[in-house]
Amino acid sequence: MKKTIVSIMKKSGEKVAQVPANVRSWPTGWNQPEMPSALRKQMKETDKQ
């Protein structure tokens, strides 16, 4: 049960975190200055391609 909850939380947290990096916007989002370095790196790599 705990494993399932952790797995669902992990998947949903990671997927939602990807949205601003992919869409470059979040309708209800404020101007988040602390975007994780992993996502910032991913955005830069996507832009280079």
């Binding site: 975190a17 601003p20 916007s25 209800t28 404020w30 101007n31 994780p36």
Partner: protein
Amino acid sequence: MIQALANRMAEFVVKNDDSANREVLAYGFGLIVSSMMTYIVVLGSAFILGVIYEVLIAILVFSVMRLTIGGSHANSRIVCFIVYSSVLYSSVFLSSILNLNVFAIAALYIVNVMLLVVYAPADTAQQPIVKGKLTRKVLGLIFTSLFFGFALLIPGRQTEANILLLMATFTCVSLHPLVYRVSGCKTSKQGGVLE
């Protein structure tokens, strides 16, 4: 408070799964929790005030436009929440008293098209838009035209029509540099991200 809760949720996952990235999860949970809280407050108050249907239309137009053309963002969660709720509710309440004729709608449409042509898509230094700028601009123009078209084609539904017009206009106005300056937000160009 929101970030503390998001951090605790991320901590819980990381404790039980070594492969999880704490920083990314905390960021994702922060988005989930803040969005949920915003929608609970906005939709809850809309339900109590009996304007849930109108608020849902306003949210739909706002989301479609913002995801396509971007625009200025507030610099803190609380300011974002206040501005977002104010925009939604002002459009809903203004829509019930406004009676725009065809000429006013045409003038509003021209202003929106000009804003879209000149400024869309408008990004932020944190989330620069590098690719697909023309696609976003064209989509912004298509969605705006559709919302204005629907507004003209639904006779007897003045409130709904006005919500479409006002929300499309609010999102187009948020592209303007003056709005960026007032909100203290920087575009990727101003932030030196694209240099």
